[in-house]
Amino acid sequence: MWDYTDKVKEHFLNPRNVGEITDADAVGEVGSLACGDALKLFIKLDENKERIVDAKFQTFGCGSAIASSSALTEMVKGKTLDEALEITNQQIADFLGGLPEEKMHCSVMGQEALEAAIAKYRGVDAPAHGHGHDHVETEGELVCKCFGLTDVFLKKVIASNKLHTAEQVTHFTKAGGACGGCIPKIKELIAEVMGEEKKAAAEKPSKLTNLRKMQLIQETLENEVRPQLWADGGDLELIDIDGSNVQVAFRKACAGCASSGYTARFVEQKLRELVSPDITVQEVQG
């Protein structure tokens, strides 16, 4: 049996806001019978069309899908559309005191329905999600054919929930949970997202503290530089860091190599690219 929190059970047994709003301002639908869960969200705005005054839902799905829908409708009431768009699937799960990881896709479905409803109201294309046959987005490439999910959608969920395994991506989105054919592609997407995050972190040198800078220099040398030197039978050792001056000693094949000057420039270039543009590399004997 699933380890549902009392709050999940309570929202499942006594769901809030079940039903339709016949004169809804916005309606968002995600999921399908074939997928095994689906959510139709109705939103009613105030007279100025600013704040959400009422929200109702119809859900086909498991206990946590119903509880997530109930939580979502409670969370959006009183919010402006922009505020509502800030709601993340993690916040829906947190509202319920957490969801089992295998059930996180229920919270993602809630967030998707909300985005779909607001996008529809504003007359723009819904953000790419693809979950649900009526709403398959053309943006992005279809990755999971079983559940109709695009790379754009998957990358968004991977990034916002900091997912790092294919199994987690399945738990959060269902992708890869049926035939499993797209699991290699999911792994590529994770690598891509993590790579982008790494780059984004490296592109912010202005916020670098000395401590962080030293850590980054060490990480870059360990992960980016030394493996390349090993490939040629060489190695280096970090001797000291003095401000932006990085002192290294070459080892093994690199030690006394005629092109060590070239290698030092390669190290400098890597550190400038990934840590800070003002770095200089100095070869020392150590």
């Binding site: 079940v18 019978l33 086909f60 799905g61 498991c62 206990g63 399945t170």
Partner: protein
Amino acid sequence: MREIYLDNNATTKVDERVFEEMRPYFCELYGNPSSMHFFGGQVQKKVDEARARVASLLGALPDEIVFTACGTESDNAAIRSALEVFPEKRHIITSRVEHPAVLTQCRNLTKRGYRVTELNVDGNGQLDLNELEKALDEDTAIVSLMYANNETGVIFPIEEAARIVKKKGAIFHTDAVQAVGKIPLNMAESAIDMLSLSGHKLHAPKGVGVLYVRRGTPFRPMLVGGHQERGRRAGTENTASIIAMGKACELAEQYMADEAGRVRELRDRLERELTALIPNTRINGGGTDRLPNTLSIAMEFVEGEGILLLLSDKGICASSGSACTSGSLEPSHVLRAMGVPFTCAHGSIRFSLSRFTTDDDIDAVIKELPPIISRLREMSPFGREYLVQK
């Protein structure tokens, strides 16, 4: 809250008479049956008695009974043995609706170069024996087909299948975990070579199983390192559970008429009344032979986990073929193989009865389930235009 336990295909209550039978073999009669002293010897006698009781239920001979740790072990041992007996044969036949104990092993074997044919089933979950006949060839080492399906209760024509297989010289194994104790079996007049059963499905404890191996069937053990079970399954006997298994089989023989009569009538009444009270249902496997204790009912436009949780809230324990309850994302492989439409597959619930099921239990389901289904259907965005009013 009193439990209304209708999930007996998942596991059963240990019959108190079974428990009483096994009780002394922990703290008092704890001897090793292999020992030379009187203290172990008296346990050996009880193990022999248990073996005879199991054999009697199956219409088998005592030396054809091998005690194992569970049904899954029996299934694994049977298939591995056949492949070792026929190292030159590289083909296995099974069905798409087998229990994972068989299916997973077969699928893993494809990675080791074996060819596996998974026979299809029709909309009722029934086999086509012509397909079996066509799939068999000289390369087939073993055919493993379940006696009765755990999810739907559908009974395969196992005797006919076994005869077809024997003509081609392959070994025939059946996973009879769900059938034993519910329908009569007679190995004396059967062509089955090997048959698996599990203790906890027939009111014995978890952790004990049996593999029936017909006299003369070549066998290679999976566990080696001891002489136990005539060298067919090494390891000190789980004496208390084996003795429990013997008692459970003796009781199962006595209760066979109850299964075929009273239990079947309870199941039929449940089926009749639920289909009358709940619109848009279908009975999975309803058009073919089924176990007397199993009802798999599909309700359109609702999802199984929600049904189970609301039933559970009323003390009713059942099971579902829905994806969400298992952590997998697809409905059960059995219902999919049967071609049950998605509108129903997610909303399939299995009620499985036992000798302990009462009229009151059935009344409780008939009272509680229809309003649960109406409530979930009202909550669902689907099906409004299709649902028949009753």
